[in-house]
Structures are given as C-alpha cells and as structure tokens.
C-alpha cells in the first residue's frame, strides 16, 4: 500500500464520479446525483490519504518534505483543492451544474500527473536548498486554492455563456442549467475566493523571496504572470461597479483570467527565469 497506488484508486473514483455526474445531467435523476457526490467525496478522502502517504514516504527516504515540490505533486494537490472547493459549493448552494466539469477536470489532472512520468508516479526527490522553507507550504497551498476558485469560475462562465445564448429555452440541455443570476453570483463568489487566496499566495511568495534572496519582487516571469492574473481578476471585480457591465463581461474576464492562470502555472516554464521548479 503506497501513495501511488492509493492515488490511482482516487483517480478512478473521480472518473466514476464524473461519469455519474454526466448521467445526472443527461437523464436528470436524483439517485445518481447523490451517488456521484459520495463517490467524489470518497475520491477526495483517498486523494488526501495519498498525499499524506507520500509525505510520510519522503521521510522514510531520509529526504522528508511536504509533497508540494514538483509538477506531479502540484497536479495531485490541484485535483484535491478543486474537488474540495466544488463539493463545498455543491453542498452550500445545491447547484450541480459544475459537477461533471470539475470531476472530469480532476480525473484528467490526476491521470496526466501519472502518465507524464515513466513509472506512473514521480520518484520523490530531495528538496533543493532554495525550497527548504516553511513558506513553501503557505505559498503553494494558497496559490492552488486560488487556482481552484478560478477554475470553478471558469466552468461557471462557460455555462453562463451557453445559457445566455438562449435563456428561455426549454431544450434538453439549456433548460437544465440554473438561472443566469445564480450562475453569475456563484461565479463572482468563486472569483472573490480565488482572488483572496491568489493575493495571499503572491504575498507569501514575496515574503519568502525576501527571506531567501533579499528581494520581495524581481519581475521574473512567474512572479509577473501571477501579477498579470491578479490584475485581470481585479479588473473583473471592478466591472461589477460599472452600470451595465454585470453578467457577460464577468464571464469573459473569468475565462481570460483562467487562461492567465494556466499560463502562470505551465506556460512560464517555457520562458526563462528563477522559477524553474515546475518541470
């Protein structure tokens, strides 16, 4: 029983939940919906266990550190945060519109994490000196919580735009989507959640950089792209104050903002700079 085994079971559970959520959407039955929720929750439990096991395994190897230091670990953690945020939202607002999307997303992220390595999981490697800091945990966790919120908002934005193409439709797909105001509001709440955590993420990164090499901001591509993402979502928040700019503009900003999140996470590895830990 090791972490990669547990995490592969979690991946299958997310996949099963995804199938169930798609069934719920197409056939509009309640029982699969409840099973989907509990399957997703079971996946989250195993995902948690997997992360904790990997943490323990690193100590057994004599190179103990929290499992947030490479691309494999970050994808696994991202799946965890998005699923947790989604399940909380489903519980609180009783809105399942994103269920299929988020569980599929989590399944793909976990699957990609294991397929992108030769043996199905990433060998645990020791931490470089620059990564040996308590700020690592705070910085990575808050950034990923931010990304999870923005991922939700992205999904909701797409659904919002689909619904807004024909709000009164009685067709099989469109009529099953929640009302636009509800979608818009949950989207905005997720943006605010994401924005708070992204701000804390950028700030913890800056404080860490200051304790590590004496400059809290060096305009390196990863730092700059996280700021770009922050500026785009700040723009979204301020559009809510301009008359007539609610609704669709928020969705477009949320979509563009998430593309910035993806670039901040993956795209910057193709530029040069200090932040090469992703690969």
């Amino acid at each position: 029983m090791n972490s990669s085994y547990v995490l592969s079971i979690a991946t299958f559970l997310y996949g099963a939940a995804a199938i169930l959520y798609w069934v719920v959407w197409v056939y509009r039955r309640d029982t699969p919906a409840r099973i989907a929720f509990w399957t997703g929750l079971a996946g989250v439990v195993l995902n948690t266990v997997g992360i904790l096991l990997r943490w323990q395994e690193s100590y057994d190897l004599g190179i103990g550190h929290v499992p947030l230091s490479d691309q494999y670990e970050s994808l696994v953690f991202f799946s965890w945060t998005t699923m947790v945020v989604y399940l909380v939202i489903e519980r609180q607002y009783k809105v399942r519109a994103l269920g299929a999307f988020i569980t599929s997303f989590a399944t793909l992220a976990m699957a990609y994490a294991s397929f992108s390595t030769k043996q199905g999981y990433q060998l645990i490697s020791p931490l470089l000196p620059a990564l040996q800091s308590n700020w690592l945990i705070a910085h990575v966790v808050t950034c990923f919580l931010g990304y999870a919120g923005f991922a939700m908002a992205f999904g909701l934005a797409i659904i919002f735009l689909i619904k807004s193409s024909d709000p009164e439709s009685q067709g099989p797909i469109l009529s099953r989507l929640p009302e636009q105001d509800i979608l818009d509001e949950i989207l905005y709440q997720n943006v605010l959640f994401g924005f708070l955590f992204l701000s804390v993420g950028i700030i913890t990164g800056a404080v860490w950089a200051n304790s590590s090499w004496g400059k809290y901001w060096t305009w390196d591509p990863k730092e700059t792209w996280s700021l770009i993402t922050w500026l785009v979502y700040a723009g979204l928040i301020h559009t809510r104050l301009v008359r007539g700019w609610q609704g669709k503009p928020s969705s477009w900003f949320a979509i563009f903002g998430f593309l910035c999140v993806l670039f901040t996470w993956f795209g910057v590895n193709y530029l040069s700079g200090l932040h090469q830990y992703g690969s």
């Binding site: 609180q92 701000s199 305009w219």
Partner: protein, 452 residues
C-alpha cells in the same frame, strides 16, 4: 483640481483600463527577456528593432518611465476614487438608527412568506428571541396591522475595499522608498578573506561601501545520498570598528540581518591551484611554482612561459586509472607551444619529453569562495504593512458582509402572516438560503408559542 480632471480620475472605467494595460505591458515584459546584455538581443532581433526597443526602454521596461507613469496614474486614480466615495460610505457605516423602510422592503427580491400560528405579540417575541444571538442590531415597531422588524450586522464591512486600497498604496510607497534608497549588490569572499564593499551589478557596476567588514571563515556544501545538494553554508564574522566581532552561519533561506543590511547565501565557487615542480634537466635544480588554471606564468630562469589548461582527478588509459592528470601548455622562447600532460602519480613521466625542465605535479589546492548577496531595503516594512492590510481587507470585503433582514408581520385571524426579505452586500444566494432556513425554523415555532 478642475472638475473634469477630477472626474476623469474618479472613474472606475479608468481603473479597469489601467489594470488591463498594466497586465498587457507586463505580458510583453515576460515574453521579451529583460535586462540582458545587448548581444543577446542583437542575436534575436534586427538591429532596427533593437534600437527602437532600447529607446523605448522595452529591455528594462519595469523601470521605464512610461511604466512608472502608468503606476502613478493608477495611484492617483486609486486615491481620487477612494477620497470621493469614502465620505458617503463612512456616513452609511456610522448611521445611527437604521430601520425598516417600506419602499426598500417592497423592492427586495427573494421574499419568504409563511404563517406563524401565534398572535402578532407572540410571533414578534419569537422572532426577536431567534435572532438575538445572530444579529447585533434588532429594532421592531408596532403597526396598525401588526409589526415590522429590522435586523442587521456587519455594517462596518463596507469599509473593506478602502482597507485593501490603503494596503496597495502602502505597498507602492514602500516599493518607491526601496528603489530610491535601497540597493542590491554582490560580493565574493574567498574562505579566510575579508570584504567591506559589494558591487551593484544592475546598471552601473558601482561599488557600495559597507559600514562593516565581512570575513568568510568557512564554506561547506552538504549533500543528499543521491549526491544532489542539500545545503550551502557559510560561516561569516562581522567586523565593525569599536564593536566586538560576532560570528554567524548563513544558509539559503536564512540570511544574516544587521544594521538594515542583509547578507544572503547566493552562490559559491572554487579555485584550484596546482603546485608544480620544475626540475632543470641539466642542473637538477628544482623550482616550485603554484599556479591557478588559466593563468600564463613565467618558467624558471625566464626560459619561457607555461599555462595550466585543465586538471582532472582521474585519467584513463588502456582500462587503467592513471590518477590525477594535469594538462598544460609550455611556451618556449624559441619555437611553437608544446602540449604537455603530467600524471601526479608518475613524477618521472615528463623526462621522456626532453624539455628544459622535467615537470611534475606535487599537490593540488582547492579553495572555495562564497557568493553573498548584500541588500538593503528601507521600504520593506511599509510593503509588509501593506500586505497585511490587503489580506485583511480582502477577508473583510469578500467573506463577511453587511447582512440585513426585513420582517413584516400582519394579523391574520389569530395567526400572523410573516413576510421576510433578506439583503446582503455579498454572497446573496447564500444569505437567501439562510433566510429560507430561518423561515422554516420560525414556522416550526408555532407549536411552542402559546397564544396569549
């Protein structure tokens, strides 16, 4: 300020525009490498493009005048917007006696209506009891047909955005202070030596004199079992006139901070010196010369020059390890340069070359130096204060909200018809669900409340 300029800067549309322009230009600053020597750019772009970009300061754009101008515009915009809106927000926050307003109540959506099986007196008492723990401010009025009740909390959270904006202003002020009066510089200190200045490489290569001297007593690298680096550690002693010296270790992520100056473990290096013995082929006289790699030095008795070009601790020939090998060039006074290989384990090997000297390697000496990044930033405390305000302000603005409940109670044949309208500045749907739940709980109270 004339009204129209003030109006321009008070606009939220301007804020959105500036935020997006800053984002777009920042994207440019990540796609085009920043702060590189001109040769790098000339190899990627045409000379004309390089000239234009250089004039527009695009190769160092985060310090460019136009980028700073955008930041100034955003700052003015932020200050004017906040100053304009703060007075009315303050008035709302400090409002003495808020209460039920019929016009507002009629307009609110998501009303919940239900019947409580009690007289209006009892119903009102029941509602007040239910709300007393959860809402700070509750006020009720009797009307001809029943009552109205108003409950609220979190009015102060309307100040949240101003806290965020103040935080941003502090961060910008701290950054300005740091860039004007701070510095980032580097110094390399070989083990055993002392330095009292550092070089600021950005721009002018100026030498910065420090108020104290740093002596490197030791430098070490520890490794993991798989040979990757675990830790870089320098032992530094600070020497200051008139004060007793003190010694501290620094590692990456744990700098030495003293008198506003910070010393960080940035990098390291080593230099190898090889001790060579030159034995005169004719007289047998031996000379010892210690030479670093790459330096061209004189042979004994001015018989020419030599240069050590390479050293390797092992050398292979015919499947055997012959041990340390030094590769050098000898430049005789007459004739062309000669390639010479010496094996430390075989001091007689060079005899067969037949040169003026028989060269052998007596020892190799590796000395380390530690690379220290030296910084000072007088603005960092303001930046950190700004960070705290931003986080607090975001939390207040996004996760707590100004919540209000409006109740209207009407007598209805011994029972009371209650209409409840929720209103919140954030997370409205969540508050509507709270109101629905509350309505359910109040409805369920009817069995417990006794009619009077």
């Amino acid at each position: 300020m004339p009204a129209s300029i003030l109006g321009f800067f008070a606009s939220v549309r301007l804020s959105i525009f500036l935020l997006l322009i800053l984002a777009a230009t920042s994207i440019l600053g990540t796609v085009i490498p920043q702060g590189q020597p001109m040769e790098v750019y000339l190899s990627q772009y045409s000379p004309l493009t390089c000239e234009i970009f250089s004039r527009l300061e695009i190769f160092d754009m985060f310090g460019a005048w136009w980028f700073l101008a955008l930041l100034v515009l955003l700052t003015v915009n932020l200050v004017v917007c906040s100053a304009k809106r703060l007075p009315s927000t303050w008035k709302v926050v400090r409002m003495k006696n808020p209460g039920f307003r019929k016009a507002l109540f009629e307009k609110l959506p998501n009303k919940q209506s239900f019947v409580m099986g009690a007289s209006t007196e009892a119903a009102l008492a029941g509602i007040e009891k239910k709300l007393s723990g959860r809402f700070r401010y509750i006020t009720a009025k009797r009307t001809e047909t029943g009552f109205t009740l108003y409950a609220e909390k979190g009015r102060w959270t309307r100040l949240g955005p101003y806290v965020i904006h103040l935080g941003i202003l502090l961060v910008l002020a701290g950054a300005l202070l740091g860039s004007l009066y701070g510095f980032t510089a580097n110094t390399s200190i070989p083990v055993g030596q002392t330095r009292d200045h550092a070089i600021n490489k950005h721009g002018k290569n100026e030498s910065i004199h420090l108020p104290f001297a740093i002596r490197c007593d030791d430098f070490s690298i520890s490794r993991y079992p798989d040979d990757s680096v675990k830790e870089y550690r320098s032992t530094l002693t600070i020497l200051e006139k008139g004060k007793p010296p003190f010694t501290r270790d620094i590692i990456v992520n744990d700098p030495l901070r003293y008198k506003g100056i910070n010393l960080f473990q940035a990098n390291w290096g080593y230099e190898s010196k090889i001790e060579l013995k030159f034995t005169d082929a004719k007289t047998g006289e031996a000379h010892l010369i210690t030479a670093p790699l790459g330096d061209r030095l004189a042979l004994p008795h001015a018989k020419g020059q030599f240069l050590i070009s390479d050293y390797s601790p092992t050398s292979e020939a015919h499947g055997r390890d012959l041990g340390p090998r030094v590769h050098m060039h000898v430049f005789p006074l007459k004739g062309s340069p000669v390639n010479v290989n010496i094996f430390a384990n075989f001091p007689e090997f060079d005899k067969q070359r037949g040169g003026d000297f028989v060269i052998s390697a007596e020892g190799i000496n590796t000395s380390y130096f530690t690379g220290i990044q030296v910084t000072r930033d007088p603005g960092v405390d303001y930046v950190y204060a700004g960070f705290i305000l931003i986080i607090a302000g975001c939390f207040i603005s996004f996760f707590i909200s100004h919540q209000r409940l409006y109740f209207n109670g009407e007598k209805q044949a011994g029972k009371t018809l209650i209409t409840l309208a929720p209103d919140a500045t954030r997370n409205r749907q969540g508050f509507v669900l709270t109101a629905k739940k509350l309505a359910g709980e109040l409805k369920g109270l009817e069995t417990k409340v006794k009619t009077s």
